[in-house]
């Protein structure tokens, strides 16, 4: 007797739009997805076990390698968690805090540009992807001038920063596009006046893009909370929750910025809009940082002992990274090596949403949904 069977398709580990080595097992009824299950671990390198055999400063370069698209924010999480363990023993100079926030927000712009660019490419628009990389390279050039490397910075230190900003990198507020890869002001002006309007007109306003993303991958706000979503995914579902406001780490409580939220039943387009608006807010924070930094020179490294031995204790520190809440559960037993490091990565948690979001949509929407929750496999697999 003839019967119809569901088609089980393995998307990945080698697939153009799984953003790395993610395997999505998808059951299809025609083109419609009936079941979806992610399979992760292809990039697993036991980062947490590795950290247990390293000293505290030695862990910092490894935190870069978790989320390689936004490493500064992950460094920030670990460094601040370690500083929390030390308590009063280590104070971070104010200038170092400002530079940390400055770099973190620049990194957020770069990371979101990657996210929106790759989401546009998943939906089929190749050109915006290359524009996003063009502009993201400028953030990398700036970070390279400060830290010495384009991608894996190892720049934050427990108690401060490795070095101060180089001469002339802040620039003047009149810097235009010609200096966008040399000065912060140049980049911010270029970004506000050229990049964002271009994105709005080229992709956000495009009707095909809206057809593809509106009403796709809807996530109710209570579901988003229950499934542990954070960052743009949570805010895209209409929950006004941003750890920079609700649990301010570093000196985020000194800055003026808004938290964009989507609608109650947020779809891919809401998440897209949240990312777009967050980039604008990041540029706002950068401007405030630049004004402060131009006026206040000073030390960037506090007094720290030569061998870092935090007192016994546990800490769970959370930072709003580009993709959501990055948490570091750090346990110290008084030795120079951390007793335990647990890395709570947002993308790992967000992948739980795939079985929830995908069924009922077409296979083309799976990649759109995956693009809208923006995973980085280095962070998922750790």
């Amino acid at each position: 007797m003839e019967q119809t069977k569901e088609l089980l398709v393995n998307m990945g580990p080698q697939h153009p739009s799984t953003h790395g080595v993610l395997r999505l097992m998808v059951k299809l009824d025609g083109e419609t997805v009936t079941w979806c299950q992610p399979d992760v671990g292809y990039l697993h390198r036991c980062f947490e076990k590795l950290c247990e055999s390293k000293t505290y400063p030695q862990v910092i370069p490894f935190t870069d390698r978790t989320d390689y698209a936004g490493p500064i924010l992950h460094e920030m999480c670990f460094v601040e968690a370690a500083e929390k363990l030390f308590g009063e023993a280590i104070t971070v100079p104010e200038r170092a805090q400002y530079i940390r926030v400055l770099l973190a927000e620049l990194q957020r712009i770069g990371s979101h540009l990657l996210a929106v660019g790759s989401m546009a490419m998943d939906i089929g628009a190749v050109t915006p992807f290359l524009y996003s990389w063009r502009d993201r390279e400028k953030t990398y050039s700036l970070l390279e001038r400060i830290t010495g490397t384009r991608m894996l910075y190892n720049y934050f230190r427990i108690g401060g920063l490795r070095n101060d900003l180089p001469e002339g990198i802040i620039g003047s507020p009149n810097d235009g596009e010609d200096k966008s890869d040399q000065t912060f002001w140049g980049f911010v002006n270029y970004f506000d006046n050229y990049v964002m309007p271009q994105w709005d007109a080229l992709v956000t306003g495009n009707r095909i893009f809206q057809w593809r993303t509106m009403g796709v991958g809807c996530l109710k706000s209570e579901d988003a909370i229950a499934y542990g979503a954070s960052g743009p995914v949570l805010r895209g579902s209409g929950v006004k929750w941003d750890l920079r406001k609700n649990l301010p780490n570093s000196i985020y409580n000194r800055f003026e910025f808004d938290i964009p939220v989507g609608k109650e039943n947020g779809d891919c387009f809401d998440r897209w809009l949240v990312r777009m608006e967050e980039m604008r807010q990041s540029s706002r924070i950068i401007k405030q940082c630049l004004q402060w930094l131009a006026e206040n020179p000073g030390e960037v490294m506090g007094k720290v002992p030569r061998i870092l031995k935090p007192p016994k204790g546990e800490v769970y520190h959370r930072v709003e990274a580009a993709r959501g809440e990055v948490g570091c559960y750090l346990v110290s037993d008084g030795s120079p090596n951390p007793y335990k490091v647990k890395w709570r990565s947002p993308c790992f948690t967000h992948l739980q949403l795939m079985p929830k979001l995908c069924p009922g949509f077409k296979i083309a929407d799976v990649v759109a949904i995956l693009g809208s929750i923006d995973i980085v496999l280095g962070e998922v697999d750790r």
Partner: protein, 397 residues
């Protein structure tokens, strides 16, 4: 030579002539492939602030030659459990069909390989084989992505063929013939404003969208959507078989652009050097405001040249205008491809069946009504509505 040719039997003449034309078409197709592929790569590069291929030849413009050489030398990879006859034949079916389009396209005054009186029907007929190519390759590959791509391709091409033919019917009604050279002649008689682009603007837009879908080009490249189905129906192809798919795609693109140029932009018709000289003469004369010797002489020379123009010069001009218009459409297709995202399969079907088909039917009705009005009230005193019609080229006198 002529004597030798006349001494041959008519059957031999037909064979030699046909063979020569086929060779020319093949060469022309391959040439178009090279140009269109380079144009695609360079255009995408310029749009994306890159430089594109740069090493082979001046600024990389000879890149297709090493590319094709490389593809010739590459290994043919065959997955296990493929349906081998289908897998092997599929690319070549498409290749033959995309070359067949060139049979009926007039590329100059009288320069057409086969002046079929059912030209447009012929095009619609051979387009049907593309579905077979896609489905054979997708089914034969023994790959789920290929199968999905083939399903999508079949559904998409079958639905858009209907729309495509419907959008052309308006042109056919206006020209009164299915023969492409007749359509070109009809447009030539009406002059540039009367080319069917403006009178048939609805039909033209629908043709544009539907031919993009028919060609599997972005934003309708669903059957090879590289972000969902790895490469769609040609996922498992490699080496020269894959190259034949690429050849098919680009020759098809140029072929459809040529049809568009023929149907809507007047084909090979266009101003010649005589017309240009007359224009310059008129400018010098100030359009009769201050006639002088130089201007009048130029106009006289132009009139002379127009009358005495040889067939070779006519062909050169015809070919130039034909190629120019064709590549205008090629450029348009590429420009659209590198700007827009891809639609989804259900949206594609909605667009085809629920929007384009009704609108193209509406276009047929509209064309019929306007044509009736234009013939019935021929010679009626001109009022505002008729002026509009005249401006739009409905009223030829």
């Amino acid at each position: 030579m002529v004597a030798w040719w006349n001494s041959l039997s008519p059957v031999a003449q037909a064979w030699i002539w046909g063979f020569g034309k086929a060779t020319l078409i093949l060469i022309w197709g391959l040439l178009n492939f090279a140009v269109a592929m380079m144009l695609e790569r360079k255009l995408s590069a310029w749009i994306q602030n890159r430089v594109g291929p740069w090493r082979a030849g001046l600024h990389g413009w000879l890149q297709p030659i090493p590319d094709l050489l490389k593809l010739f030398l590459k290994e043919y990879i065959e997955p296990r459990n493929i349906d081998k006859p289908l897998f092997v034949i599929a690319p070549f079916i498409g290749f033959v069909m995309c070359l067949l389009i060139w049979l009926i396209i007039p590329i100059g005054p009288g320069a057409v390989a086969m002046n079929l009186d059912i030209g447009i029907i012929f095009i619609a007929a051979i387009t049907g084989y593309d579905v077979i190519m896609i489905f054979m390759s997708g089914w034969g590959s023994n790959n789920k992505y290929s199968l999905l791509g083939a399903m999508r391709g079949a559904a998409q091409m079958i639905s858009y063929e209907v729309t495509l033919v419907m959008s052309i019917i308006g042109v056919v009604m206006m020209a009164g013939s299915l023969r492409l050279s007749d359509i070109v002649d009809a447009q030539a008689a009406r002059g540039p404003l009367g080319w069917y682009l403006l009178p048939q603007i609805i039909g033209f837009l629908i043709y544009l969208i539907a031919s993009l879908a028919e060609l599997n080009r972005a934003p309708f490249d669903l059957s090879e959507a590289e972000s969902e189905l790895v490469s769609g129906y040609h996922t498992e192809y490699s080496g020269f078989r894959w190259a034949v798919f690429a050849l098919t795609e680009y020759i098809h693109l140029v072929g459809w652009s040529a049809i568009a140029a023929t149907l809507f932009l007047g084909g090979w018709t266009g101003p010649t050097h005589a017309d240009l000289a007359a224009l310059v003469g008129n400018l010098v004369n100030g359009f009769g405001l201050f006639p002088n010797g130089a201007g009048t002489g130029l106009i006289d020379w132009a009139n002379n040249a127009a009358v005495n123009m040889g067939w070779f010069a006519k062909w050169i001009w015809g070919f130039w205008w034909f190629a120019f218009k064709t590549y205008l459409f090629v450029f348009l297709a590429m420009w659209i491809r590198w700007t827009l995202p891809r639609v989804r399969i259900d949206q594609l079907m909605d667009l085809g069946w629920k929007f384009l088909l009704p609108v193209s039917l509406l276009n047929i009705f509209l064309t019929g009504i306007l044509k009736f009005v234009a013939t019935e009230y021929h010679g009626v005193p001109v009022n505002l509505g008729f002026t509009t019609l005249r401006l739009l080229g409905w009223w030829t006198n």
